[in-house]
C-alpha cells in the first residue's frame, strides 16, 4: 500500500494577513484585502485593483544579503518555510537531508525583479540591445523561477528531490500534489511544499488588462472581487505564498507530530481546448475531481467543503459550477462551496497552495470561510457559496480545485486525520 502523506506544518504570507493566524482571522471575518494598487502607478491601467501583501522582509529576519539576492517571490517563500517548519516542530538536525525534498510552485517567478532590472538594462525600454554593464549579478536568478526552490532547499538543508512546478495558475495545487507523489512513492519522507507569487507588477497587470481578465471596478476596490455574483467582472490580481510541511505519516507518527490533515488524493487534467478559454461543460475539471476522490477512496457525498477556484471571471465561475455538478452530482447542491479569492484575490501560481492551507485550517477549526461580496448569485451559479459570513461546519473532507491558462485543471482532496487505521 502506498505511503500516506500528511500536513504537519503551515506557513502563509497573504494579503491582509501575514502569518497563519492573521490569515485565518481575515478569512473567517469575511473582510477583504483588495485595494487600489500601491506597488506601482496604475493610473494608465484598465484594472487598478490588487490584493497586496504589506511585507517587511527585515522584520521577518531576512538578512541584508538575502533581501538583495532574493526577489520578493523568494522572500515570501522563505518566510513561509520558516513559519511552517516552526509550526511543524520538526527538528531538522534529526532529519536525513537526503530524505528531505522541496516542491514549490510559481507561475511567473521573479517577475518584479526582472522588470525592475529590465528598466535599468534597457534605459526604460529605449534599447532593444540592452546594456550588460548594468546587469545585477542576481539577474539570472530572476530569469529562472527555480531560484525559489533553491533558496527554500538551502533554508531547510534539503538534499533530496528539489524542484519547481510551473503550470500557471494551478502551480500551487500541482506543486503540493507533486510533493504528495514524492512521499507516496518513497522518494522522500518530508517535502517542504507550497507556492509563491509576487507579480503585482506593470507587466503582469498589462497582460491581464489586455485580455480583460481582471476587474475594472476601480471605484470600489474593497468589493472588487465578486466570485459567483451576478455583477462580477474579472479577478483581482494578488500576491502571496503558502508553504506546508508534508510528511510521510509514519515519520510524523514516530515524532509525535500534530497532523492538520491527510492529502487523500490529487489529480490534474488538461482541457486541450484553448490557452485561456474554458469549455462550458467542465468535463476535464470534473475528471480531475473524480480521480482525486477515487484516490482518496471517498464517494462524492463525503465531501464536506469545496474550496472553489472562484476567480470571479464570468466564464470561470460557470465552468466550475458545472464541473462540481458533473463530479459530485446532487451533492454539489448540499455541500458548502466558497472562494477565498473574494477576500485575498488571485495570486496566480501561489493561490492553490494558499487554498490548500485554508482547507487544512477549515478541517482543523470546523469553520468554512465565506465568499465575500456575494449579494446576488449569477442565475447560472446556483450552489451554496457561503455568502458573506463564515460558517461553523464540521469538515472531515475538503476538496480544492484550480484552473489555469494552458488548460490545466487540478483537484486535491484533504481529509481529517483519524488515526493510522482510518
Amino acid at each position: 500500500m502506498a505511503r500516506r502523506s500528511v500536513i504537519t506544518g503551515i506557513g502563509v504570507v497573504a494579503p491582509g494577513g501575514d502569518g497563519v493566524k492573521e490569515f485565518w482571522d481575515l478569512l473567517t471575518s469575511g473582510r477583504t484585502a483588495t485595494r487600489r494598487i500601491t506597488a506601482f502607478d496604475a493610473d494608465a491601467f484598465r484594472s487598478q485593483v490588487a490584493a497586496e501583501v504589506d511585507f517587511d522582509p527585515a522584520a521577518h529576519g531576512l538578512s541584508h544579503r538575502e533581501i538583495r539576492r532574493m526577489d520578493r517571490v523568494t522572500q515570501f517563500a522563505v518566510t513561509c518555510t520558516r513559519e511552517a517548519l516552526a509550526d511543524s516542530g520538526l527538528d531538522l538536525s534529526a532529519v536525513d537531508p537526503g530524505r528531505l525534498g522541496v516542491s514549490v510552485g510559481s507561475a511567473v517567478g521573479a517577475a518584479t525583479s526582472l522588470e525592475r532590472e529590465y528598466l535599468v538594462l534597457s534605459d526604460t525600454g529605449r534599447d532593444w540591445v540592452v546594456d550588460h554593464r548594468y546587469a545585477s549579478p542576481h539577474l539570472f536568478n530572476h530569469l529562472t523561477p527555480t531560484t525559489i526552490a533553491t533558496e527554500v532547499a538551502w533554508e531547510a538543508g534539503a538534499e533530496g528531490p528539489v524542484g519547481l512546478v510551473s503550470t500557471g495558475c494551478t502551480s500551487g495545487i500541482d506543486s503540493v500534489g507533486h510533493a504528495h507523489k514524492l512521499i507516496s512513492e518513497g522518494s522522500a519522507d518530508i517535502v517542504l511544499t507550497g507556492a509563491s507569487e509576487a507579480a503585482v507588477s506593470p507587466l503582469a497587470a498589462a497582460c491581464f488588462d489586455a485580455i480583460k481578465a481582471t476587474t475594472p471596478r476601480n471605484d470600489d476596490p474593497e468589493h472588487a472581487a465578486r466570485p459567483f455574483d451576478r455583477t462580477r467582472n474579472g479577478f483581482v490580481l494578488a500576491e502571496g505564498a503558502a508553504m506546508l510541511v508534508v510528511e510521510d505519516y509514519e515519520h510524523a507518527r514516530r515524532r509525535g507530530a500534530r497532523i492538520y490533515a491527510e492529502i487523500g488524493g490529487y489529480a490534474t487534467r488538461c482541457n486541450a481546448y484553448h490557452m485561456t478559454g474554458l469549455k462550458v461543460d467542465g468535463r476535464e475539471m470534473a475528471a480531475a475531481i473524480t480521480a482525486a476522490m477515487d484516490e482518496a477512496r471517498l464517494p462524492a457525498d463525503a465531501i464536506d467543503y469545496v474550496n472553489a477556484h472562484g476567480s470571479g471571471t464570468k466564464q470561470n465561475d460557470r465552468h466550475e459550477t458545472g464541473a462540481f455538478k458533473r463530479a459530485l452530482g446532487d451533492h454539489a447542491y448540499r455541500t458548502p462551496v466558497s472562494s477565498i479569492k473574494s477576500m485575498i484575490g488571485h495570486s496566480l501560481g501561489a493561490i492553490g497552495s494558499i487554498e490548500i492551507a485554508a482547507c487544512a485550517l477549515a478541517i482543523e477549526h470546523g469553520v468554512v470561510p465565506p465568499t465575500a461580496n456575494l449579494h446576488e448569485k449569477d442565475p447560472e451559479c446556483d450552489l451554496d457559496y457561503v455568502p458573506l459570513v463564515a460558517r461553523d461546519h464540521r469538515v472531515d473532507a475538503a476538496l480544492t480545485v484550480g484552473s489555469g491558462f494552458g488548460g490545466f485543471q487540478s483537484a486535491m482532496v484533504l481529509r481529517k486525520w483519524r488515526g493510522g487505521d482510518a
Partner: protein, 402 residues
C-alpha cells in the same frame, strides 16, 4: 510496469529531427556560432548554439505564430516529430490517455522582451493579449496538449538545467498511474538581448571567441560553457500498450531515475551527484558495472567538471566506464539539454556507437575518467546513464536500457 521510448523529436542546433541530429553528431558538425538575431558585438560573450535554419512557418500554421514565443514553436515541432516518429495517431487514443509533461527553465522570453518594451515605451494598451500565456513556462505543455487533444495529466517541472530529465521521469510516474502514453521532454530558447544578458550574469558563460575552444568540459582549458537553444521531446509509453498498438520501434526502457540536491554552500557536506547516480541505479536494479556508457552533464567549469569526474570515479571506479559529452557540439540547452542527451543515448544504444566528445583534448589525469575522444567508439551497449545538473545544486540521473 515498463516505460519505453517509442518516438524521438529533436530540435537541435545541428539538426532538426532525431536522425539529422544523430548523423550530425557522428560527423561532428558544430552548431556553435556567433549570435545573429541581434547585434551582439558589444557583449563579452557572443557564441551560442542556435537553430539557424529553423523557419517556424514551414512547420506551424500561421494561426499559431502570433501567439507563440520561439521556445514554444520549438516545443510544438519537437513534439510533432516525436509523435510522427512513434507513428502515433492521437485521434486513435482516448483523450485522457495521453499526457504532456515538459520542462522549461526560462519561459517565452523573447516574446516577453518585445511586450515589455511596448509596455514601457507606449503604455499597457499596446501589450499583446498573447503575452498573458506566451510568457509562462507552462505555455509549451498547454500548446502541445491543445494541438493534439491530449487531456491526461499535464505538468511542467523546472529544475534549471536538470529539469528536462525530471520531467521525463515524471512521465513514467504518470504511466504508472495508468496513462498509456506521454509526450515528454524540454526545450529552451531565451537568447534575445535581455535573455542573453541574464545568462551572462551567471558568470559561467565562456568568453572564448573560437567556437571550437569555447566550451571544453573536462579539458584543462575549460573556461565556461556556451548556451544553446532547442531540445527534445520523446514519446514514452507503457510497454504493453505500445506493443498492442503495434509501435513502430522501441528505442529503450526508462529503467531508473533519481534527483538530488547539493548541500547549501558552505556546509562542507559532499555534493549530491554521486548519490543521484546510486539512487538511479538502484531504481533500475543495476550495479555500477552494468552501465555501459555515461552521458555527462559536462558543465565546462573546472570546479564542476572535477566534481562530476569525482562522482563518476567514486561510483564506477577510476576510468570505470566510457563517458561522452556530445553537447560540446550544441552547447548547454538548459531544460532541453537532458532530453537531447537522452535521445543521443538511445541512438547510441541502437547503433552500438559512443560518440566522441568533440573539441576536448587534454583531460587532467587526476579526473580519472574515460572520456571518449578522437574516434567514436563501437561497443555492444545495453545500458546508458544520462546526467544533468542545474545551477543552484540540482542533480538528475536517468538510466535507459535496451
Amino acid at each position: 510496469m515498463k516505460a519505453v521510448f517509442t518516438g524521438l523529436g529533436v530540435m537541435a542546433p545541428i539538426g532538426i529531427g532525431a536522425e539529422a541530429y544523430w548523423s550530425a553528431t557522428l560527423e561532428r558538425v558544430s552548431g556553435i556560432t556567433e549570435l545573429e538575431r541581434f547585434d551582439a558585438s558589444g557583449y563579452p560573450a557572443r557564441l551560442a548554439g542556435q537553430l539557424r535554419d529553423f523557419k517556424a512557418e514551414q512547420y506551424l500554421s500561421n494561426r499559431l505564430l502570433p501567439q507563440t514565443d520561439r521556445v514554444t514553436r520549438l516545443a510544438l515541432v519537437a513534439a510533432e516529430q516525436a509523435l510522427g516518429d512513434a507513428d502515433v495517431d492521437p485521434e486513435s487514443f482516448d483523450d485522457f490517455d495521453m499526457s504532456v509533461i515538459g520542462s522549461n527553465a526560462t519561459g517565452g522570453f523573447e516574446f516577453t522582451h518585445r511586450e515589455i518594451q511596448k509596455l514601457w515605451t507606449h503604455g499597457p494598451e499596446r501589450v499583446s493579449v498573447y503575452e498573458s500565456f506566451a510568457w509562462f513556462n507552462a505555455a509549451n505543455t498547454g500548446q502541445i496538449s491543445i494541438r493534439h487533444g491530449m487531456r491526461g495529466p499535464g505538468s511542467v517541472l523546472v529544475a534549471e538545467q536538470a529539469g528536462g530529465l525530471d520531467a521525463v521521469a515524471h512521465a513514467r510516474r504518470v504511466l504508472r498511474e495508468g496513462v498509456p502514453l506521454a509526450v515528454t521532454g524540454g526545450v529552451e530558447s531565451s537568447y534575445d538581448p535581455w535573455g542573453w544578458v541574464s545568462h551572462l550574469a551567471t558568470g559561467r558563460i565562456s568568453t572564448v571567441p573560437d567556437p571550437r575552444r569555447a566550451y571544453l568540459p573536462f579539458d584543462e582549458a575549460a573556461a565556461g560553457y556556451v548556451p544553446g537553444e532547442g531540445g527534445a521531446y520523446l514519446i514514452l509509453e507503457e510497454e504493453q500498450a505500445a506493443r498492442r498498438r503495434g509501435a513502430a520501434q522501441v528505442y529503450g526502457e526508462l529503467a531508473g531515475h533519481a534527483s538530488t540536491f547539493d548541500p547549501r554552500p558552505g556546509s562542507g557536506r559532499p555534493p549530491g551527484l554521486a548519490r543521484a547516480i546510486r539512487l538511479a541505479l538502484a531504481d533500475a536494479g543495476l550495479q555500477p558495472g552494468e552501465i555501459d556508457v555515461v552521458f555527462a552533464d559536462a558543465a565546462g567549469l573546472p570546479e564542476l567538471d572535477r566534481a562530476e569526474a569525482d562522482a563518476l570515479a567514486e561510483v564506477f571506479g577510476p576510468h570505470g566506464v566510457p563517458v561522452s559529452a556530445p553537447k560540446t557540439l550544441v552547447g548547454r540547452l538548459y531544460a532541453g539539454g537532458g532530453p537531447l542527451d537522452l535521445v543521443c543515448a538511445l541512438l547510441s544504444l541502437r547503433d552500438g556507437v559512443i560518440p566522441a566528445t568533440a573539441h576536448v583534448r587534454d583531460v587532467p589525469a587526476d579526473y580519472r575518467i574515460d572520456l571518449v575522444r578522437g574516434e567514436h567508439r563501437s561497443a555492444r551497449l545495453r545500458t546508458a546513464l544520462v546526467l544533468a545538473r542545474g545551477n543552484g545544486g540540482y542533480n538528475s540521473a536517468l538510466v535507459v536500457r535496451r
